[in-house]
């Protein structure tokens, strides 16, 4: 349990970055760094956070930070970890640095997944953090493997015959857990205590750990910037983004929900789902509800919870 009063007031992430007003990913980064136990370094994939925090000559980072490419953060982090180890063994450097590889959902679910898989398989002591805003927002809202069904993006528009994105959101944590790593978790910036706790656990783990955090994007979700945190909570409460941990393969729910919040409540606050509010797509909403329940029940089952 995180007590805000006890969290460090030291800001490793400075203001003056150029992420949008009400940016969820920005909150996710700041919270993640509050979990630091000591020296920390970030390897950042190309994406909103990278682009907006390091526009030369201004950097928002007060810790060692490197950006390489869109899809190679996990590999760059692997190399960095190897360098630290090798130089330490040879007496050329000293001191533990916790390495966090950070990617958005595009850099994680899609183009970067191979390098992440390699990093997990090789067993590097790195935390992989995916801030998920559910599309390629940096390039102007194109769909990704993390975009939920029904969401309109510029490459999965709500058309006359196709109502937004087809296909489900990838089970990224399931993929990570299947590598047999010690710790993987989903989180929401809406539930900061749970999220920061999970980041702390991930950093503590000796070996690879993964945290997947939902971080709404007012621009891409076409939502009110004021409601970023509210939406991050609702994503969890609707069952669309269940939060849980996988400790050495054992699933554990982080929040037990009695009844799921109707997804319409969540949809109606976001422009990307507005088309689904029309009567002709009623059936689509029903299908999304079925999918959501099915996935939610699957996680409950994995966590050994009663299914009601």
């Amino acid at each position: 349990m995180v007590v805000l009063k006890n969290l460090s007031t030291e800001e490793l992430y400075a203001p003056g970055h150029r992420l949008c007003a009400g940016c969820g990913p920005s909150i996710s980064i700041r919270m993640a760094l509050k979990a630091a136990r000591g020296p920390i370094a970030v390897v950042n994939a190309t994406g909103c956070v990278e682009v907006s925090t390091t526009i030369f000559p201004y950097t928002a980072w007060r810790i060692p930070w490197v950006h390489a490419l869109f899809e190679n953060q996990a590999a760059v982090a692997s190399g960095l970890e190897a360098a630290y180890q090798s130089l330490e063994e040879k007496g050329k450097r000293k001191g533990k640095v916790d390495i966090i590889a950070v990617g958005g959902d595009g850099g994680t679910f899609d183009i970067g997944i191979q390098a992440i898989s390699g990093m997990l398989e090789r067993g590097h002591d790195i935390v992989y953090l995916c801030y998920d805003n559910e599309a390629y927002m940096n390039t102007g809202i194109q769909r990704s493997g993390a975009t939920p069904r029904g969401a309109a993006t510029t490459t999965s528009p709500a058309g006359k015959v196709i109502p937004g994105k087809r296909g489900k959101k990838k089970d990224f944590i399931g993929i990570c857990a299947a590598h047999g790593i010690s710790y993987a978790a989903t989180a929401s910036i809406g539930f900061f205590s749970d999220y920061i706790d999970k980041m702390k656990k991930a950093i503590e783990v000796d070996g690879p750990a993964v945290v997947h955090v939902i971080a709404p994007c007012p621009l891409g979700w076409r939502s009110n910037p004021t409601e970023t945190v509210k939406l991050a909570k609702m994503a969890v409460l609707t069952g669309l983004f269940p939060i849980y941990e996988v400790n050495d393969g054992i699933y554990k729910m982080s929040m037990k929900l009695g009844r799921l919040l109707p997804i319409e409540e969540y949809f109606k606050l976001q422009g990307r789902f507005q088309h689904l509010m029309k009567p002709e797509w009623k059936n689509e909403v029903e299908e999304i509800k079925k999918d959501t329940e099915k996935h939610y029940k699957k996680i409950l089952r994995l966590a050994g919870e009663k299914i009601t």
């Binding site: 682009v51 526009i55 930070w65 960095l80």
Partner: protein, 423 residues
Amino acid sequence: MSRKKVESSIEGIIPYSGEGSTITIEGGAVCTQLGCAYNGDEAVAYAAKQSNVDVVAAYPITPQTIIVERFSEYVANGEVSTKYLPVESEHSAMSACVGASIGGARVFTSSASQGLALMHEVLYLASGLRCPIVMAVVNRALSAPINIHGDHSDMMGSRDCGWIQLYTENAQEAYDLTIQSFKIAEDKNVQLPITVNLDGFFISHSTESMKSIADEDINKFLPPRTPIYKLDHDSPISIGGMALPEYYYEFKRQQEEAINSAKPVVKNVGNEFGEMTGRKYGFFEAYEMNDADVAIISLGSTSGSVRSVAKKLRANGEKVGAIKLWMYRPFPTEELFSIIKDLKVLVVMDRAISFGAPYGALCSDISSILQNRDSEVKVLNMIYGLGGRDIPTTTIQQVFEESLHTAKTGEVKQRIKFLDMRE
């Protein structure tokens, strides 16, 4: 095979056993007083081992595989203190190398062909972030059709990636230049990645006798890396941020300056290496160029065949010469011009096609320096040996003879020719 070491500096074949020979094992190779039996890949792996590399991240690909296999053995047997990352692709191999390099490590990798192509975008990252990574490229053709044999299409496809590019003629040179590469790349005025190119199979898989260097001599020649910047807890810098149009151009200009700064370094390191071993290196090797009317310039293993043919023709009184280019990037413009300017005909051998371009890549470079200096040297471009097709000495002799004819008559039949092509 034309490139067999006809005029190798080491005489004869190594006696693997026999009277008066002491047989030892070095880096997995059989050695006698005359030298060690290495193929090109083994020689490179041994050079990397002796260079005290901190991190190796690599992915296997024919014909480079032996390098990573040998290195894995060194690691498995505890013969090196290197962290070896057996990554899941070449893209990740080069990415991990970049990560390790910015962490302050001495880094080595190797690749070939499709692997190098898969690394392509990361190559620019390595040079842009000024990471002194050493990579052996075992040159191989590119798909399609798939072909595992040697040509220069892979490296030529990435020639503008901002890396220093060296080419080697045989296992000895691959070994020697790998060691020198660390010293060149890590020089404080250079700080750029470097490739050591060796022809797939022709060099990588041919066992030849080679002189290795004692570990202590290498340690003296090559001190540990002193990075000019690194990412660590005591250095909270931001590397790889975004530079918009008002800044980007200046950083690229810095890079151009850095690669040109490598020239004196390559020369000095080559001289120093020569003092240590008796094998001196530089930008290129000029053979009988003082009074030559006709010369052939080439990269890699073909240079040996060219030199042997030139030697034969010289014996017949023909004024021919040969240039073996060790350093392709940065291009030794002035130095090369000074030895080719008085030729009548210069033949440029390109083992890759630059599709749709006037000439092959090497020939384009040479033509441009001659053109800009109002030279009257006639340049002929020979494309050859793609996909590992052999280039026999008979073909090279024919090229020389035709060029001598051109030198005499001034008549140029074809400026670009595809050697040994079935028409």
